[in-house]
Symmetry: C2
């Protein structure tokens, strides 16, 4: 399934020896001629070499393949890193018999360590020879770093197939760059409309995630469409636009949920819904402030509802709020009304027990109503556990 669920795509993966673990670490996805692609990239000023290369090739031409490696992020590697990105994509293009400009690149792994070029180049012939329409699951495995499971999703929506896979996030691993996601569809979509779909459907789904407030140097989301489904081109306003858009939303939301649930050290997923804000952007800012608050995250780890921390996080989000208009519910239990924590929370053990039960679930639903405005948004987060500190503190790169 994964990225080869939709027609018109072939994928492959090998163990090149880039990762000390000996797991598969090099992957390739190729769309048939005519494939279009749109991309979303990290906003970090310190962008990795493959991000810089892919961004410029997307702007200039019409790529239809992506070479992905895990093990080294090829970030903070300077001119050598730029050179390695050029050489490795050129070598992949030569093996594929296409132009270098048609190949994008994503890298994930240790920041600063140069790409292990010899092993990578040596593995390319086998990688290209292995390309097939059944290569999606192997592709999904080879892009992983400290993830514990592959993250794939696939759906049919009207006449279209949409599939994808992702890695990372959850919790950022030591010196590892974070989130990569690859989504393919067989819908026929031109580059501009595909860019709109990436911005309007994929970006909100992935931007709703918050683990530790850090923005990786390598984050990339790529959306490919092969047109293999045939039929009329899909464009904004065409009959099939909503079918494609809905399908993309299902796949992106599913991948986002998988990413947060596999967070390193995460035992609980925080689903924070904010409504009543002035607009959606303000709601998103508040939702991410609550889902990303270290105090809310540790409270989730401890199963302690702690409404004061939720109020504190919402109030400090940087959006002007009327404190006396804020209601907070945890799993349906109203723990703050009009900005006031009800005295029953402190006096009535049954009330507190209800709230604790809601805060102890695998998926903790927190609703924050901040007024009567039309703005609403959801953020996904996870708890902050001993394991997060262990993984990111004790492990020495």
């Amino acid at each position: 399934m994964s990225v080869t669920f939709a027609g018109g795509f072939r994928a492959s993966s090998v163990t090149a020896g880039l990762k000390p673990s000996g797991r598969p670490d090099l992957a390739l996805l190729v769309g048939d001629p005519g494939t279009t692609v749109a991309g979303l990239f990290t906003t970090n000023s310190v962008a990795a070499a493959p991000v810089v290369l892919s961004r410029s090739r997307l702007a200039a031409g019409s790529p239809r393949a992506v070479l992905v490696n895990s093990g080294q992020a090829n970030a903070a590697t300077g001119p050598r890193g730029e050179h390695d990105a050029l050489v490795s994509t050129a070598a992949a293009a030569a093996a594929l018999g296409i132009a270098p400009e048609e190949v994008l690149q994503c890298s994930t792994g240790v920041i600063g360590e140069p790409l292990h070029m010899e092993q990578l180049i040596e593995a390319l012939p086998k990688l290209v020879a292995g390309l097939g329409t059944d290569g999606g699951d192997g592709f999904a495995e080879a892009i992983l770093t400290t993830d514990t499971v592959e993250k794939t999703a696939a759906t049919k929506s009207g006449p279209f197939r949409i599939g994808g896979c992702a890695k990372g996030v959850g919790m950022i691993a030591p010196s590892l760059a974070t989130m990569l996601a690859f989504i393919t569809t067989d819908a026929p979509v031109g580059p501009e409309d595909l860019t709109s779909l990436a911005a309007d459907v994929l970006a909100p789904a992935f931007n709703s995630l918050i683990v530790d407030g850090c923005t990786s140097t390598n984050d990339t989301v790529l959306l490919f469409s092969s047109g293999a489904a045939g039929g009329d081109p899909v464009f904004l306003g065409s009959p099939a636009w909503h079918q494609l858009s809905d399908g993309l939303s299902i796949v992106a939301t599913s991948l986002a949920r998988s990413l947060i649930a596999d967070g390193e050290g995460a035992g609980h997923v925080l689903i924070v819904d904010v409504d009543g804000a002035g607009n959606d952007d303000q709601a998103r800012t508040i939702a991410k402030a609550v889902a990303g608050s270290m105090l809310v995250k540790t409270a989730a780890f401890g199963g302690d509802p702690n409404p004061g921390r939720i109020l504190q996080a919402a109030g400090a989000a940087g959006v002007a709020l009327d404190a006396s208009a804020i209601d907070v519910e945890i799993g349906g239990v109203r723990v703050a009304q009009g900005g006031v924590i009800p005295s029953a929370y402190f006096d009535d053990e049954r009330f507190a027990a209800h709230a604790r039960e809601a805060m102890g679930r695998d998926e903790i639903g927190i609703t924050v109503r901040v007024g009567a405005g039309p703005g609403r948004s959801r953020a996904l987060g996870c708890d902050l556990s001993y394991d997060y500190v262990r993984i990111n503190g004790e492990y020495t790169t």
Copy 2:
């Protein structure tokens, strides 16, 4: 010492029974008639009742006393909380024989739980009777919540004495509101000049702290001047301005350092200096992003220099940077130059050992040079440890 080191101030403290621990929990500071005061308050939209009261009394009149309690933060307590703040300050004023408008209030403790008014009111006569010029140390103790030590500072600067105390921050405790600081001087300063000193000298010192990125509902810094030192009034441009300003800076910086070092679970202090930014504000934003990054904080806990995380945090601070102009030093060891992590970091064990040694110190100095601009700033942070998660996760309010 503490707040009674400067002439013209009396302080007192008692155990009113507001804290279950049975430690002192109610404190009073009173300046002689003619005392002026300036204040800095939380920017959280969810401000506690004592913050709202103190802010309005400072704007309207000339207070010269502050009643401080630990145990309950009187935040998210609605109209009842506002009423309790009015009643308790009125009762303190009556016992002191001054107007209610002359009394400010600070509260720190559990958010949402109403003030224990009966115990507080009952303790006031004893509190007022105990006022003395030797009450500073008791005052510093009674304002604590989960702090492990009193935080006091005092200095003489020219003809002036300056003393102060603070509580909290470091790490925020479960449902406890955070930082309070009280600084007194015997310099004769009018209200407007005192406000300038608070904004220009105290705010930068306390705003440089970052523990978990959370902004408390109760944060307050109060600066009192009694004029007991005599002499000409001190104003901007007067000969003694710099003496007073320097002394205030020494006391504020010392208190800030004490706060961060007592962070719950903190074993290392992070001192992050940024220079070469476009301006000081941008430098501060970058410095706080590095000092507050969960990945840098866990790296500090693990003694892992991890330059990639520092670059990542600087790059994602929201300030546009030229990645190829960023140099990073940890304890004087250059771990990134021109945005590139030197290959020796990965290849040369002695180089890596130097960097690890620097990252293992009690005070970890990180310097980030981001260009050739004039902007510079320092942020103080601390590591993220198992104890932080234990204190904030396992403890159930």
